[in-house]
Symmetry: C2
Subunit: 338 residues, 2 copies
């Protein structure tokens, strides 16, 4: 369904005049677009429930857009919020959401500078939707990072895009996976596994990583989870990827919750983690920098891009199981995860 929609969108909206000028265009299907050195991103949020352990739709709407702008190497400047509200939606809920947005904006160091609100009749919408768009600029840290990469290997892009990865690049995961998706689904089903969403704006972490240097791409494993990130990279960079299962950080109660809920933690969304592709010469340095931060204290080098027939993504399960092809994500096992 999702891919059918994307095909249709590209068929009609791809290749337009601005797309040709864009440095990162619609066709790239990357985290954000870039034109005239301005990073542009738009994201609609339909998460259900609106309030979940560890966050709410307000925090999510800021974090999601800020992170996507930073994923391509941009420094978020400002945001625009579009609210669609069902008539009868309680004002205290709206205020709680706005407060969360305000806090997340402070953490990220950005502001909402414009917006739009539409109220629709009761029944026309399940409560509340936020679209957050945003713009980012090119910062010096990105230029220094790219210069560092170029000391060691060829690097053609001016931005951090999915097609930048080459054989030998290390794959780092900034922390535990599955927390957000598990929190959403368990909250919806009324279970309490003591799992909290990791939703957070991470642009300051991105900045710190760029200052270390050697980064070729950063991506947050949201819809479709870690598996989706690895498949996107493998497809667009035309490389194989191998990750070691034992290196992937995950909380014990997330493992347990996923078993009970019947979902795969490698396939479900996170909102406060980064997957980082880095040249091997800088991998340990990036790992050390990550572990110094609150958000990155559990970081691990989980694998690398490698020469694999058919450019598959392999999961090394260790022991007698060995390497298996990681299941490709069709969609996130948790609906309305973000």
């Amino acid at each position: 369904m999702q891919s059918l929609i994307e095909e249709q969108i590209l068929k009609y909206l791809g290749g337009g005049s601005s797309n040709v000028e864009a440095e990162v265009s619609l066709e790239a299907l990357d985290d954000a677009a870039v034109i005239h050195n301005i990073v542009l991103k738009s994201d609609s949020h339909t998460v259900k429930p609106l309030f979940f352990p560890g966050g709410d739709i307000g925090r999510l709407s800021i974090a999601g857009t800020v992170n996507d702008i930073a994923n391509v190497g941009g420094e978020p400047i400002a945001l625009a919020s579009g609210f669609v509200i069902e008539e009868g939606f309680e004002m205290y809920k709206f205020e709680t959401i706005l407060k969360s947005m305000q806090e997340a904006c402070k953490e990220a160091g950005v502001s909402v500078i414009t917006g739009d609100t539409k109220v629709v009749e009761t029944g026309a919408l399940d409560e509340f939707i936020i679209n957050t768009s945003g713009i980012g600029k090119r910062g010096d840290a990105l230029d220094r990072n790219i210069a560092e990469v170029k000391k060691y290997r060829e690097f053609k892009s001016n931005w951090l895009v999915d097609s930048n990865i080459k054989e030998g690049d290390k794959i780092i995961l900034s922390g535990t996976i599955g927390d957000h998706g598990t929190a959403i689904l368990s909250s919806r089903r009324g279970y309490d596994f003591s799992v909290k969403s990791d939703v957070a704006p991470l642009n300051k972490l991105h900045h710190k990583l760029l200052e270390v240097g050697g980064i070729v791409k950063i991506k947050d494993p949201t819809r479709g989870g870690l598996s989706n990130v690895l498949y996107e990279w493998s497809k667009k960079s035309k490389v194989g990827i191998v990750v070691k299962q034992e290196k992937i950080p995950i909380h014990a109660n997330v493992v347990e919750a996923c078993e009970i809920l019947g979902i795969n933690p490698l396939h479900t969304g996170n909102e406060g983690k980064l997957v980082i592709a880095v040249i091997p010469q800088k991998a340990e340095e990036v790992l050390t920098a990550l572990r110094e931060t609150k958000e990155g204290k559990d970081a691990e080098i989980i694998g690398e891009a490698a020469k694999i027939f058919g450019n598959h993504v392999l999961l090394d399960k260790g022991g007698v199981e060995g390497r298996v092809v990681l299941q490709a994500p069709s969609t996130d096992p948790v609906t309305r995860v973000c």
Copy 2:
């Protein structure tokens, strides 16, 4: 309701760090925001029905954002589209909407360069929502226009904002009013008044007007109609405004339809018209330029900003009725008009 929401949004999201840097900030509640010379706009579209005489939600979503960027003096560069789709929505409808977007983009000379799609379960949404965000740049035509204004009077803003209007400025309307709102409501009720929506991207018209010069503000009378534009200007510019009823262009069948539908054409949305505030010295020249265009052939100078006690907006009905205070819009009489 709408104003309560805006107050809450300003309370929590106003005054953030980027808002302070913004040249046109959230607090301005203008057509779009401006930061670092980049114009930013976001607009969610919930129009019902999705397809109506003269257009559809796709065309509307492009025109709305392009026009708002141009209203503050920006030249639209690129757009981002966020779709939220109810599961089961027919693919041929989606394709028709995408085709309309493509056409409107061509007319405007912009492209969608990034996007996002969320599918929600049946019943969680009345079919389909589009959010369109966009960015614009500062063009030379705006600088030349402002230089022209400054030949005749003081002008403090760098952009075309609602607070720019001064006593004596002429108010021009580019064409007939009430077409869009009447088309939407009659279509929803199953009447046929042969009224078509005027929905169109007008940024090329904005550009032409700036090339004539002397423009202090342009605004499209969307939600809340012409009345809303005049009230916004009066409030933010702290001036009175007088418009002559007999000068306001309106189609005879719109007058008739509005009577039957029980709505006021001065209060309902248009999507292809401009209200232009211009210094008196350039008003006739701007009018002539407008009338040379297809979109502006019915243009009229409908009134002017004037010294009026309490800065009221007056409607001059002519004859024995004389000048009356124009009713302030609370909300658009047509729900889900855009």
